[in-house]
Amino acid sequence: MRYLTVIKQCSLYFLVVVVVLCGCRSGSDQGRHKKVAVIVSTLNNPWFVVLAQTAAEQAKSLGYETKIFDSQNNTAIEADNFENAISAGYNAILFNPTDADGSVSNVLEAKSAGIPVFCMDREVNSVDAATSQILSDNYSGCVAIGKYFVEKLNKQGKYVEILGLVGDNNTWNRSKGFHSVVDFFPGLTMVAQQSADFDRNKAMEVMESILQAHPDINAVFCGNDAMASGAYQALVASGKANDIKVFGFDGAQDVIESIQNKKIMATGMQFPKVMAKTAAIYADEYFKGKRDFPKKMPVAVELVTQENVNDYTGYGKKE
């Protein structure tokens, strides 16, 4: 009889321990069971590879299952990626859009499915679609470039602006920031403004044709570093590389080296890793109940010049 009581008591304790352990396990697994999708415009460009991989690694380090979806710069593939992510039960999407307008419907689809979307680097043209958009402060970065540009040209001269994709918001935010400074100085005259679609080869062609019409320019401002490299190549080919100052934007490794070698004057350093990590941290905070995210969170762009280039490396600061 006594043995029976002891067995009964042991069984009861065992049952309690099992229940407690199960409870603990299900609690700790709550975070681990959530899944975070990273949908990126393209993996065919190292800049976006860094963005996507950093976002996925950060989400993983916070305890979430992650997967990277490549939209291949195609809004139709992006729509498929969203459908797949939604049907596969992903709980948040860290998103780098292919198109500011064309991607809005995808974000809204996720929103209607109750899935928060955090945009990285590129924005969608809707205030309410994404939970938050973490974007480079392109405008302010180009204000800083504009100021350095004016100083290096001693407030006078003729210059050319090579724009990125004309349908991209970043193109115009950069251009507006630059002109918000440079247009204050009447001694500086823009003799040509042309798009080269953020493409190095196109920028080289554009620069070659502009040089034929305006061989006497003093400087060229390019909306990204690939175009700055292309423009510089055209200047080398025409024998004017030492006379015309080139300014870029991005912080690409080859342009940082060109600044060190005094081939390119300056660039604006963006921080893809900061944007990606912030997006993953926001998703984590969302899961923990936070809801008051800023609709748009700017990430500071730093001016990299002849004077401070040794502090920087491609896409960031030296560790």
Binding site: L135, Y139, S140, A144, P294, K296, V299
Partner: protein, 209 residues
């Protein structure tokens, strides 16, 4: 026949009812007025910020002769205690105040030797009044007040326009050797603090011969 007529009458009534409720007219000037009301007015926001937040709070600016030693000895504490920024990243802004002597004047700035810190110079900008320093240095603007990036970019531009019209004219009277007290906003990179080239965007100045 009678039933058909009734049917047609009912259908016509329904079509008219739906049509009436689907189309409505508004005066064009009313619609335009609504759109204007929804558009963010950066100039008005900047003026309100200048009058009600920035200038009444100037006494809260950190004294430069306290900030510089702290930046030298404990930069992390200095940034945590006194810097602000609307976005994220290494660029942070301080609202500073100081007294000193005008040491040099050129086309772009007025150089001030800071009282009590003989080695320290601060350049007060007179030409390049650009960027977010004056907007962000107080920490009194909330990013959630803005729906899009261009709105808060425009606020910076409008605050800088106020500085050009209200503050810069006073600096035109500065002469080397004058005593000067000032309050201004500075930008520092918290990863690479460079105290040899501090440039302040002036918010208030007082020059004594």
């Amino acid at each position: 026949m009678g039933k058909k007529v009734i049917k047609y009458i009912i259908v016509a009534f329904v079509v008219l009812l739906v049509g009436y409720n689907s189309v409505y007219f508004k005066k064009l000037d009313e619609v335009k007025a609504e759109q204007t009301a929804k558009t963010f007015n950066a100039a008005a926001y900047a003026q309100n910020f200048w009058d009600k937040k920035l200038t009444p709070g100037l006494s809260n600016a950190i004294a430069i002769d306290k900030l510089i030693p702290m930046l030298n000895t404990n930069p992390a504490q200095a940034f945590d205690s006194y810097s602000h920024a609307l976005g994220i990243g290494n660029l942070r802004y301080f609202l500073i105040q100081g007294k000193g002597t005008v040491a040099a004047i050129d086309g772009d700035d007025v150089t001030v030797s800071i009282a009590g810190l003989p080695e320290q110079k601060v350049k007060i900008a007179t030409e390049y009044i650009f960027g977010n320093a004056a907007r962000d240095a107080t920490g009194l603007i909330n990013i959630n007040d803005f729906n899009n990036t261009m709105d808060f970019n425009n606020v910076s531009a409008e605050i800088n326009a106020i500085i050009r019209s209200k503050v810069l004219p006073q600096l035109k009277h500065a002469k080397v050797g004058n005593s000067i007290s000032f309050t201004g906003a500075i930008e520092l990179n918290k990863e690479h603090v460079n105290l040899s080239q501090i440039e302040a965007v002036p918010v208030a100045v007082n020059i004594q011969p």
